[in-house]
């Protein structure tokens, strides 16, 4: 009997897991809350996606800038959010370095409770500015190209000219 149960458990564990089988795919931090029954939420306010406490989308159609139904804008948002995550990782490392230097021991609660002083906050603001310049360097590239008067086909023209010289 127990063997059968064990085999069943194995079979369950090995079977593909569907998202719908999970109680809630969101991290706990986003789904806690003494939620109002959906019937109590006004119709004329933003409504959170299932499983979320607060809505992610403000009322009002989001503008689309690239004639592609918002696809590029969504990618831009992902890149922007990803950059924020990379930055927060970097800050975490900086904090760890400070704490390691101070105590020689790393306590995760100490990291969460760490608050930089005014001077260090200023230094971090400056560092965040440099970091952002690096990630969004493409704007300077586009701006320089505009000022240089480069057209979209200028480079192709060089290649064409070289071929013509054959």
């Amino acid at each position: 009997m127990s063997k059968v149960t064990h085999r069943l458990r194995l079979a369950q564990r090995d079977s593909p897991v569907h998202l719908s089988d999970c109680p809630n795919p969101l991290p706990p931090m986003l789904r806690r809350g003494n939620l109002m029954a959906m019937g109590d939420v006004r119709d004329d306010q933003a409504r959170p996606a299932e499983g979320r406490v607060l809505p992610t989308k403000a009322l009002g159609t989001r503008p689309s800038y690239f004639d592609d139904d918002g696809a590029t804008d969504a990618l831009v948002q992902m890149v922007t959010a990803l950059t924020a995550e990379v930055w927060s990782l970097r800050e975490r490392l900086t904090t760890l370095e400070h704490l390691l230097g101070q105590a020689g021991v790393v306590d995760p609660r100490a990291v969460d409770g760490y608050r930089p002083d005014d001077e260090e906050q200023a230094a971090r603001r400056a560092a965040a500015g440099e970091f952002t310049s690096r990630v969004f360097r493409v704007f300077d590239e586009l701006r320089e190209a505009a000022a240089a008067g480069e057209g979209p086909n200028d480079y192709t023209a060089l290649v064409d000219r070289a071929y013509e010289e054959l």
Binding site: A58, A81, A147
Partner: protein, 377 residues
């Protein structure tokens, strides 16, 4: 300088603060390094192409916007700017979603009977708030998601501080302080209002300076959103300031005629469409006692501003859920005040300094606060 940690301010952890710092760095980078490039792209590409296509200069800010729209630089700039606004609310909102129940409970415990709170679940939300969440804040000023919700207030209080990179002061009260100290104190040194009304007060951040400036006055704040008022009430109580908050539409309040000696608002005028603005001005006229003052603090109109700068400022109208930003700046609000009943000789538009830095695409400049003022005769 950091935000003053009053008892209602949401708790944030290391990574929340790091993400917020990134949002500030990104917005600062866009304003100082990327936005100026839009002017270059206009000059070198969009303007010459427009002239080629149309045989004339772009005539106004609307044509400048149309000329810029095909430009990849303009599109990417717009897309990143819009994403930075989403990231702002996402970064601040994550910690608030984590403690939404605790904040509601904290707000309830904060009441020490100094002021009061009156919410109206049956208040009809006008179209200009029901159809759009201003400046892309999910849920707006009035979304309610748990019992006794104050999340919108917490999101606004912390979000404004992060958005303004602290330039509105440790209590986000710079605009209220600017009206009190840079306008009322020098121009009306003996002014002693019996009752003060702050219209569209949200969390009361600009209301509290009036409690300090006029300790004998009864200070009121009204707003369309219940959760921002709940938070504002708790915040004022926690800070030991007596304010009477009520959920009302500024176009038609339930206060009696001549009830107030001073009616103020802070960056609310640009969040209202013209017809509602005209109603609000008429309501101010009704509510003011003879000799009473109306002071609406906002940003100046477009009259006299070059069209490219107008187009840069006007980005928010079309791209940042600020639909009334452009229409308001095209209005003659002095004339609207006269039409609302104020004596033309007692209506004025005044500019006072603030510490705010504006996103015009030019390099950082010290901000000015534009005031629409009128005295009831």
């Amino acid at each position: 300088m950091s935000q003053y940690v009053h008892p209602m301010l949401p708790d944030e952890e290391h990574d929340d603060l790091a993400r917020e710092r990134f949002v500030q760095a990104l917005k600062g980078h866009i304003a100082t390094r990327v936005s100026p490039g839009v002017r270059d792209v206009f000059e070198h590409r969009a303007r010459p192409r427009w002239i080629d296509d149309h045989g004339s200069e772009p005539a106004d800010r609307h044509q400048i916007r149309q000329a810029l729209q095909p430009e990849t630089y303009y599109r990417l700039w717009s897309s990143v700017r819009r994403s930075s606004q989403h990231l702002l609310w996402a970064s601040v909102g994550e910690s608030i979603a984590r403690q939404v129940d605790e904040l509601a409970a904290r707000a309830q415990a904060m009441d020490q009977g100094l002021g009061s709170l009156r919410v109206d679940p049956d208040l009809e939300i006008p179209w200009y708030n029901a159809q759009v969440d201003i400046h892309v804040m999910p849920g707006g000023y009035r979304g309610e998601y748990v019992e006794g919700d104050v999340a919108a207030g917490a999101l606004y209080d912390r979000g404004v501080y992060v958005y303004a990179t602290g330039q509105m002061g440790a209590l986000n009260d710079d605009y209220g302080q600017s009206v009190v100290n840079n306008f009322l104190a020098p121009r009306f040194p003996d002014f002693a209002p019996r009752r003060v009304l702050d219209v569209g007060c949200t969390v009361g951040h600009c209301t509290l300076p009036y409690v300090d400036a006029f300790p004998d006055a009864e200070v009121h704040g009204i707003d369309l959103g219940a959760p921002v008022l709940r938070y504002g009430h708790a915040r004022a109580e926690a800070l030991g300031r007596a304010v009477h908050f009520s959920q009302q539409n500024a176009e038609a309040t339930d206060f009696p005629d001549g009830h107030f000696d001073l009616i103020v608002s802070h960056i609310v005028v640009h969040e209202m469409p013209p017809a509602a603005l005209r109603n609000m001005l008429a309501e101010c006229h009704r509510l003011l006692a003879p000799g009473g003052l109306m002071v609406h603090a906002d940003f100046p109109g477009y009259a006299g501003v070059d069209p490219l700068t107008q187009a840069m400022i006007d980005w928010d109208t079309h791209n940042n859920n600020e639909p009334f930003w452009g229409p308001m700046r095209d209005m003659d609000l002095s004339a609207a005040s006269v039409a609302a009943g104020f004596d033309a000789d007692h209506v004025d538009e005044v500019v006072v300094p603030t510490g705010r830095i504006l996103q015009t695409g030019r390099h950082a400049q010290t901000g000015n606060l534009w005031l629409l003022t009128a005295q009831r005769t």
